[in-house]
């Protein structure tokens, strides 16, 4: 075990891990926004919209995230869509996780007792108002855990964009192998840094979950 090497690479790797955090946050934000939209489609009264939502979920869950990344980054320019590696990575990861998050959101909404919507409607609330004031606040609580699982998967999934040379944690690790020939130390440090990120995220999810549970 080359302790000196570990001491030398940690600062650089922490920097790279920060890029992973930024990448995760960006794709998380995009993912949540798209997921909310897809979940709305999935829950719509209009069959065509429901179909569109279901199609989105099937496509993005039914194909490897790596292929989605390649399709956007390598295939995109051919049809006039061109992004920097970081942007392409964030968009592809965001669109991918959105499919999973849409299902978490939809599951939360469907888990709220039907009587809640009925009670709200019987008071004279419209459908949108009932959703906003009665169903969604309760569904939000039920979504935190599943969305948290999605977010953890997303953080680990960011490693995939190393393949399109986004200079994040995994890419940085691979680059250092070439110059040091010490894959064990390098990937061990990498793994530990991912673990720290995921652990921090898990703590955050726990706290959110507890904060919401205490409310009712």
């Amino acid at each position: 075990m080359d302790i000196a090497l570990i001491g030398r690479i940690v600062p650089v790797f922490v920097q790279a891990a920060w890029t992973t955090v930024e990448l995760s946050l960006l794709s998380l934000a995009l993912g949540l926004a798209v997921a909310a939209l897809v979940a709305m489609l999935r829950l719509s009264h209009v069959a065509a919209l429901r179909f569109a939502g279901a199609a989105y979920v099937s496509v993005f869950r039914g194909t490897p995230a790596l292929i989605q990344i390649f399709l956007l980054y390598f295939g995109g320019p051919q049809v006039g869509i061109q992004f920097e590696p970081f942007a392409a990575g964030a968009i592809a990861l965001g669109l991918n996780i959105a499919a999973y998050m849409a299902e978490s959101i939809r599951g939360g909404v469907l888990s709220v007792d039907r009587g809640q919507m009925e009670a709200a409607r019987s008071l004279g609330f419209g459908e949108g108002q009932s959703m906003r004031w009665i169903v969604l606040p309760q569904a939000a609580k039920l979504m935190i855990r599943p969305l948290g699982v999605n977010a953890v998967a997303l953080v680990k999934g960011t490693a995939l964009v190393a393949t399109i040379s986004v200079v994040e944690l995994t890419y940085t690790a691979q680059r250092f192998i070439g110059s040091t020939y010490k894959p064990f130390e390098i990937f061990a440090v990498t793994a530990v840094l991912y673990m720290i990120m995921v652990y921090g995220l898990t703590l955050l999810i726990d706290r959110l979950d507890r904060a919401y549970a205490g409310e009712a």
Binding site: Q116, A119, F125, G126, W133, E215
Partner: protein, 254 residues
Amino acid sequence: MNDTRPMIEVRGARKFFGPLEVLKGIDFSVARGQIVAVIGPSGSGKSTLLRSINHLETLDGGEVWLDGVQVNQKLDRRSFERHINGVRQQMGMVFQHFNLFPHLNVAENITIAPIKLKGMAKAEARALALKMLDKVGLADKIDAFPARLSGGQKQRVAIARALAMQPKVMLFDEATSALDPELVDEVNLVMKQLASEHMTMVIVTHEMRFAAEVADRVIFMADGAVVEEGSPAEFFRNPKQERTRSFLKKFLNG
């Protein structure tokens, strides 16, 4: 105002669940201030009938009128949504499973509709909530969350919530069926008090004794049709139809 006009009128109500006809052309009306109890075996369509009065169930045929306004009129989607929301504000509905909003405390449960739908000021709404809670004997629970209440208390809050919209009629869908026996009376008491204040009420219930005590008129339904109706006295003492007699006998022996 025309006080002879029925408060609720249902004409030829028909409803299918798939191939099953659950309402086979029901006609009935409720006069202003009248209390009608609807009884019958489970699956008779009595809950469906009640729910179709405020359009929680959509009728496949027939008409429902509230105080001279047709509830289920044909309008385009957007206009109907506006129309039905307005109509529902005039009808209080009490559910078997209370359906209080668990993320809101008692005060918020009662005030959310007056505040959001009628634009009532918060302080005024809270005063209203207190008044309604006083009516149902739960003023001390104004800041409690539903999870802290017993079933009977929950149902009384649900009644207060409906009353806060100052409805023209109150619809009760087996309001005491989910309660432990010892909690039934406190809810019945509130309903009786409402009756004494001449609230127009339609009460779907399994409780024959309560129906006899509180109702001006009893409607007995079976298999999606009204079999018999009359005053509680004639209905319970002297039922005319064989179907009614066998139902009542089963009930008294069971």
